[in-house]
């Protein structure tokens, strides 16, 4: 049909033009870039979709990568909003230098400790959970269960969920305590992977945001001490602070994009907070 040399030349030209054109497109767009927490990524996307329905001429792009990734991006200026399921560390604040980074709580997230539905254990204290994840207790019999070795799963270090769990559960609230995740703990690439592993293994334990819980795993009730009360995570128990393994979810912004304030206003509005509930997160208390 076409001469082979003509085809070759056309392909060559196209392959040179294409990368340049995508560069141009990326530079031109004023898409609102949101990066960060994998826990919040679905929530961010739901907000973005609703926002773009309200304002059809605006575009919002949401990606994950972990809270740490998002914070690094807002400091470096490669995104407009950073989603984070933990607060910035002092090291990160130092990295930001003189730049003003605003922190806005946008929702709460309960962290559920999950096990296989067939596991006889239904409740644990914070101390017991801490001992399981640090390796002090290695067998389910150590907390009153069957004589089987515990398979412990966790999120990766770049996850805000990981950092929160480390500080508030393993270290029982002391952010700089000595406790660490044991080196035997499986670092799973996502909360979804944790759910998959736990639902297929009767000796596994893991922690995920409430939004990832489904009927194929069992959520443990948690208490501060052996006498109880052992509390199931839910919107009510998180709002009245009886379930304590919960954390605020943040937006970090630098206000370098015109639509940022607008977007945040939408997120904090009753419509935005309704989306929070739909996705199984906990909306901010309506004052």
């Amino acid at each position: 049909m076409f001469k082979p040399s003509f085809l070759r030349q056309t392909v060559l030209c196209l392959s040179l033009v294409f990368p340049f054109s995508t560069l141009l497109l990326a530079a031109k767009s004023d898409t609102l870039q949101i990066k960060g927490s994998d826990t919040m990524v679905n929530l961010g996307q739901a907000w973005a979709e609703e926002y773009m329905t309200l304002y059809p001429d605006r575009t919002v792009a949401v990606t994950g990568g972990g809270s740490g990734t998002g914070i690094a991006a807002i400091i470096a200026g490669t995104c407009d909003i950073a989603q984070s399921s933990r607060s910035m560390t002092s090291e990160e604040k130092a990295k930001a230098g003189g730049q003003k980074v605003n922190e806005t709580p946008v929702a709460y997230d309960g962290i559920a400790v999950i096990v296989h539905p067939s596991n006889p254990i239904s409740q644990l204290t914070i101390e017991q959970i801490s001992d399981i994840f640090t390796g002090k207790i290695k067998n389910w019999s150590g907390v009153g269960g069957e004589d089987k070795e515990i398979l412990v799963t966790s999120r990766e270090r770049n996850s805000g969920t990981h950092v929160f769990f480390l500080e508030h559960v393993l270290r029982k609230g002391h952010a700089k305590g000595p406790e660490e995740f044991g080196d035997f703990v499986l670092m799973m690439p996502s909360s979804q992977a944790i759910v998959e592993e736990v639902k297929n293994s009767d000796v596994a334990i893991g922690y995920v945001g409430l939004g990832y819980v489904n009927p194929e795993v069992k959520v443990l009730k948690v208490s501060q001490s052996l006498e109880g009360p052992f509390v199931q995570p839910s919107i009510e128990t998180i709002h009245n602070k009886t379930y304590e393994v919960s954390r605020p979810l943040f937006f970090y912004t630098k206000e370098n994009h015109p639509n940022v304030a607008d977007f945040i206003q939408f997120v904090l509005s009753p419509d935005g907070q309704e989306i929070v509930k739909v996705l199984d997160f906990v909306p901010l208390e309506q004052s």
């Binding site: 740490g68 470096a76 270090r157 770049n158 660490e180 035997f184 499986l186 799973m188």
Partner: protein, 294 residues
Amino acid sequence: MKHSRSIQSQILESLIEKAIFFAAVLTIILIVLIFIFLIKEGLNLFKVYPISIFLFNRRWQPISEPPSFGILPLLCGSIAVTLGAIVIAVPLGIASAIYIAEIAPNWLKEILKATVEFLAAIPSIVLGFVGLVTLVPLVKKTFGIPTGLTALSGSIILGFMAMPTIVSMMEDALRAVPKSYREGALALGATRWQTIWRVLVPAASSGMLAAIMLGIGRVIGETMAVMMITGNSARIPNTLLQPVRTMTATIAAEMGEAVHGSQHYSALFAIGIVLFIITFLLNLTASFFIKRRL
């Protein structure tokens, strides 16, 4: 007229030669630049952290206070998975290469070569995903272990990834053995298998060793597939039936969180330097073997 045309074409020719020279040299420049960048970022760590602890300590705790950057469990993880993959891929690879090169009828030879090449074309993450969904539960059930996310699962999948490289190169090595060897062996009364195993394979041995080196190089750099199926537990394994963490998965998982310029950041680049050196040495050894054959 003739004079001016020849000046024009001379200039044009010399321009073209310079352009393609530049294109060729670009690869070398790129590699050197990558290496310099790695060194610059990675060596920052060793200004404040002793290199002996980095290489030999068993605790990889990059975000504790004080942090511990011992890569021994990561190194062992990479080695365990790589060795396992080679143990699986090399015998299979040698057998396939011998069959394709020496025994298969021509029509089968073409089909087999095409399918092995196709295996190479499958994206590694697809193999990792398939492994996660099919191989991992199978390993868990077969060995009765708490989880199928183990070095063994990683080794099997990586073995499949290394096979095409190994088979292609070994088959080339076997075909490059001069016909006179085969004819001589036949003339001396050797059977077909005796010819292959006692004459051809030893003659092709340096090419085959080069194939193994390159297979190792392919496997040790694999990231996404191992991150999905090896369990990511930074502990020195006693058996292949335990979860491990490779150097590549560590960099992929933690680079996003590391604050630029921090010790953790430099430590990850230092791991990159280790990987770079290992692959470089493997490629060097492979090309040494290839040259010796010629």
